[in-house]
């Protein structure tokens, strides 16, 4: 089923008797189980005002189409959504709805925020077939409850998004990466923390114990006018002198490729096992990495986002100990399917709220992302 309009979608949902599998571009598979419901018919940019930093598009709009329109005005989606195709080895076209429903956000999340922070408004159809709008297309809006945030990252559990409005940002004149070689995880996070605590507006801070050449590499990104890059790179070199020599990469293609490598977790591409994503306090990153004993580790968000490749069937959450945060099983091997829950279990009072919301927005259980039983 590929509805062409919101009304058609509403009719389909009202008529549905069995669960639906909602699919955008299919790069992460579908959400849920059952008859396929595709959003591809709800596609197209309906409004783009570069001077107001605002874009509105149908949920099924391919991300590539949005990127192209933005690039023409020298603007971009600053939250840098990751492209799951690299890690999952999937095909298909990422869509705006998929990005919104998974709150997909990349390395720049530490400075500018996640997808949810750039979503200004949504339209969606809930499980009863009601067409609902929330938020709008202006940057400041506190009119009523913020259901936009609730829909962001909801994995299609509460409704099918039909339209999303976004705040976009200008592309800076120049982007540079500062590279430090040979640090262990603890030292790397210390270096990243110091940089992130400086006034130089770091927009990416990642560390790979085994980088592209097999050696530890720590990456810091700065963006701005060329004069700013020169000044800030110089200041950061002084600030981080004790961590070793710092190389500055300013070739724009190489810089972009490096951060795409981090963003898409290319390190773990085509390698066996499960891939986990943990969100913790940055200084807990090295501790968690050590506790996991993973086959591959990638630290992003200054240490607060830990990607780990683990042997098939390992419940990595059990290794968190007293570290606060949560883990998601992003790439699940066959041996783990059905044995390890994909999403982090919630404490009872929070689960009660989540279940309550799901029951209200999807009373017939059409959209439930079938949680994998423990």
């Amino acid at each position: 089923m590929t509805p062409k309009t919101e009304d058609e979608l509403s009719e389909i949902i009202k008529a549905a008797r069995d669960p639906l599998q909602i699919r955008g571009g299919g790069t992460r598979g579908g959400a849920g189980t059952g008859a396929l419901l595709e959003t591809g018919g709800l596609s197209g940019i309906s409004l783009y005002e570069p001077g107001a930093l605002t874009l509105v598009a149908g949920a099924g709009t391919p991300l590539a189409e949005i990127d192209t329109a933005l690039a023409r005005e020298n603007q971009r989606l600053a939250f840098e959504p990751l492209d799951h195709r690299t890690l999952l080895g999937s095909s298909g076209e990422p869509t705006l709805g998929g990005v919104a429903a998974t709150n997909a956000s990349g390395p720049r999340r530490i400075q500018v925020g996640a997808a949810r922070d750039f979503m200004l408004g949504v339209r969606f159809v809930d499980g009863a077939g009601n067409i609902v709008k929330n938020g709008g297309r202006v940057m400041k809006n506190v009119t009523g409850y913020d259901l936009v945030k609730l829909m962001a990252g909801s994995w299609g559990q509460l409704g099918v998004m039909t339209e999303v409005s976004l705040k976009v940002l200008p592309v800076p004149e120049m982007i540079a990466t500062l590279l430090i070689n040979g640090l262990n995880e603890t030292r790397a996070v210390a270096a990243m923390s110091r940089a992130l605590g400086s006034p130089f507006e770091i927009t990416g801070a990642a560390h790979a114990p085994r980088g592209v050449d097999g050696h530890p590499v720590t990456m810091l990104r700065i963006e701005g006018f060329e004069t700013q890059i020169t000044y800030r790179a110089g200041e950061l070199k002084k600030l981080l002198a004790e961590f070793g020599d710092i190389a500055v990469e300013t070739d724009q293609d190489r810089v972009a490729a490096g951060w795409a490598w981090v963003r898409d977790v290319a390190l773990m591409k085509d390698k066996p096992g499960d891939v986990w994503r943990f969100s913790v306090k940055p200084s807990d990153g090295p501790k968690l990495a050590a506790a996991l004993g993973a086959e591959d580790i990638l630290l992003d968000w200054g240490g607060g986002l830990v990607w780990a490749r683990m042997p098939e069937g390992t419940d990595a959450r059990t290794k968190m100990g007293d570290i606060a945060g949560h883990g998601t099983l992003v790439r699940m091997s066959d041996g783990s399917r059905g044995r390890i829950p994909r999403l982090h279990p919630e404490p009872a009072p929070v689960a009660k709220l989540t279940d309550g919301l799901r029951a209200r927005f999807d009373p017939r259980g059409l959209f439930n992302l079938a949680p994998v039983p423990a």
Partner: protein
Amino acid sequence: MQMPTPDARVLSRKAEIVDRLRGVLPADAVIDDVAETRAYECDALTAYKCPPLAAVLPASTEEVAAVLKICHEMDVPVVPRGSGTSLAGGALPTADCVILGVSKLNEVLETDYDNRFIRVQTGRTNLSVTGAVEEQDFFYAPDPSSQLACAISGNIAMNSGGAHCLKYGVTTNNLLGVTMVMMDGTVVELGGAHLDAAGLDLLGVICGSEGQLGVVTEATLRILRKPEGARPVLMGFDANEVAGACVSDIIKAGVLPVAIEFMDRPCIRACEAFAKAGYPDCEALLIVEVEGSDEEIDHQLKLIMDIARRHNPVELREAKDADEAGRIWLGRKSAFGAMGQINDYMCLDGTIPVSELPRVLTRIGEMSKEYGLDVANVFHAGDGNMHPLILFDANKPGDLEKCEELGADILKLCVEVGGCLTGEHGVGIEKRDLMHVQYAPADLEAQMAVKDVFDPNWLLNSAKVFPLDASDARRALDVAAE
């Protein structure tokens, strides 16, 4: 402004309710003397007043939980209160409610510069959060103009913004976690020092829910290192359209100022008469501020001034140092004081797409003439968050009502051009009955469904946000059940 009829059963049980509250709180933390409850009869929307049944001032999350549990058991409505600076009546009591003030919850619980967060009790004021991290050159970014007085609890309830949100975002973009007490006394923890909470983004929906979903007692907030410096440029134009086009060109050029403030002629004149900041007498004035090192600021200001020159400004004045920066900001910062000296005023905060600025300003000018009330405009132009100030005379019979009608018409205009009723003040009671203008019944139903889940008996601040006719049936639920 209509409020629901107080619940007679609650009023008749006042003594018993107060007794039970005294059982879980120290004696001085329960206020039931009629004269003393007057201290809580209104917030910054002073046109509306109503003393509560009682007020309580708990000093810990446990005490908040104990209070809510009792109120839940006894079906007593609760209105949470931070510092009472709401311009929308968010903390206005009903006669049958217990005011739950968080002013005693004002400790800093944890400061962590390596991980860039601070954890505070939510009665703490906005400015004192920055005060707690300033010695390390850090700050908490959202800066509502009431920041000296307003509490973090209220900031979270209203998702407060400020002058610098074009660059730093509003409260919801800087809130990492909360400890919240549900109406039945259950304590929930959401988020934490990590960047994204697991599961549904409940934190995102709690922020801006105007105290209707729970009472937030602790918050983990993102702190940032202060920029090396900041300086503004002032520019005057002889038409609102030109100023609007200049804002749009600055944004398109890839410079992201930390603030773009806009003042129209009535506002410029009033501020000039009050503060004598040396503003030009022109149709529209912009103050654009950028941050960075001295050289970085020079570079960005030059780009901005080059753009401004293409729009033939009547005045273009760059701040070369802190003193000149102070003079440029002087008039803008005294805007509200200047208006207060002229007359009583009502401040709206409808938000519009930036491209609609000229059209909206023209229309507001026409409406102002039709109603015979002066309107001055000062606002955050980068994000379209308007602040029309309607001048009226509270002592003149009928003037407040006329002012409210004009205000409603201006807000309807904001919605009509693609904007919203409120950008940062919240709905409260002030804009409650206008929610139909922006939202269809199904849109409001979806929002009220969230409250049903968090507060099934609709006891928490329930006479706010939703039009009374839309929420009537829900507020009556507990009564009907008996």
